[in-house]
Amino acid sequence: MSNHEFENYLKLIGKLLQLTRGQQASISVELRDHLESRVAELVDDGVGQQEAVSRAIEEFGDAAIMAKNFQFVSQLKRRRWMMRFATLSMAGLFMVAVLTMAMWPTKARFGTPDTALAQLGVTSGVGPQEIGEGPSAASQLDAQMEEKLNRPVTLIYEQIPWSEIKAELGEQFGINIVLDQSAIDDSLTADEPITVNLRDVPLEHGLIMMLKQKNATFIVDHGVMVVISLDNADDSNYLQMKMYDCRELLAKLVLEQSSKVPQRTPQGTSPGPAGGMFNVQSGGTVPGTEQGLEGGGMDVLGMGGVLGLFDESAGIATQEDLLIEVLQSMVYPDKWKQNGGVADARIVNGILIVKQDRQGISEVDRFLQDLNFFVNSQPGKAKFPVGTDATAKEPKPAAESNLEARPGFIPNTRVNKDLFDGSASGK
């Protein structure tokens, strides 16, 4: 049987279809079968062999049309395959997302304390870096902002509208600055002219001083700088939370007889004679403190210590109590809950959690860093920083820092200075 013509026909279709050899062979099988069946039938009907082949091929129709029809089918198959692939990919991605959510560290999941606190209006600060799971996303954003706030800046403006300054700083430091309604109410409007002349100050202090003229300040929330009214700075909604890893510091604090709680003065400070590590008070022990100790009523987390601090019968039973007591006596005493303020400090598993306004947090940073420096500066002890945030710098004795130059500096911090001076000279 002369199939030469038909072989050419099949080859032509293969070429037109741009099929692989395998695909071509597969299609050829059935086309050849069809042709041979038709030829056999025609021959049976009495048609000559050559004539039968010609007619059979003729009936097949134009090779180009058949190729086009096949092509349409293969395109359809490809589209279906892609659709299936896309659907599977989406399903796969969804599964990965679900698994990631399920396996994500509980700290970062929805509905965790971090979120719960955020819902209560508490913005979170920098997480303790020693914890393996890493800080929350919001805290990481905040940490980036804190790093930027530490950069030096020169702010020289003469009657420049606030909106322009905002845009310039935003661009220069890559930060988002938004105005809280309270600040706008305080007339810090877009065209409010601002005059300031500050050279080489950390951005944070430059901004605080600049905004202070307009009775405003700022907080950092999810890495965004929110400008608020100064009147609202100590509103519980604008408090910032920060955690400090104090485990090593706490282990080094020594509970001495002399460390027991002194009677609080209205200012909450008790300037004492300098010298000696951690002799934070000179007023002698409070009557009844001994009872508190004997009673053993303090819980190890220091909660009881905080709550009981101003109870005259309360004492300092643990290092946690001691750190909280000293912190609250030394840093803005009036801002703490115990003195009618809103700020709070607790110690959980050696992690000090502080909820303070921004200024308060800044002072707590400094207090802890310097305290840690002195605690560790005893002979034979290695140095290490306390602050777990990116802003922690090499500790320097307070005597070298210009205390009075700091915004919001209040006189009672002087006690710190005395302590440091005494320690530095005494040891």
């Binding site: 597969s26 299609i27 099988v29 059935e30 086309l31 050849r32 079968d33 069809h34 041979e36 069946s37 038709r38 009936e59 097949f60 129709g61 134009d62 049309i65 058949m66 029809n69 096949f70 349409f72 089918v73 359809l76 198959k77 279906r80």
Partner: protein
């Protein structure tokens, strides 16, 4: 030979025709073409250029399946209906019945008296 159906008329029903031919037993391309021709009294003559791409499409849609067989001495590709194909055939047949009834009532008055 009877007058063929217009291709426009056939377009929407070719799938159903092929599925119905395959409903009773497996067939190969040439036999499908023959059956359609016989069933339609020569009115439907599906050219190979249309038939084979159509079979491949139905197979891609999983309405039919195929296998190669060479027991007759000649390599031949057989096609049979899948379960999905059977379902599709039943559903489409019902739809076509309704369609035919609808057409009948619409055009009944204009049919030449036989």
């Amino acid at each position: 030979m009877a007058e063929k159906f217009e291709s426009d008329l056939l377009r929407g029903s070719l799938d159903l025709m092929v599925l119905s031919v395959l409903a009773s037993d497996p067939q190969y391309g040439y036999s499908i073409q023959k059956r359609l021709q016989e069933a339609s009294r020569e009115k439907v003559r599906l050219p190979a250029g249309t038939l084979y791409p159509l079979l491949h499409r139905l197979e891609a849609d999983l309405l039919i399946r195929s296998w190669l067989d060479s027991s007759t001495g000649r390599q031949r590709k057989w096609y049979a209906l899948t379960a999905k194909g059977k379902k599709r055939l039943t559903a489409q047949a019902a739809q076509w019945q309704q369609y035919a009834d609808c057409m009948q009532s619409l055009i009944g008055n204009y049919l030449p008296a036989s």
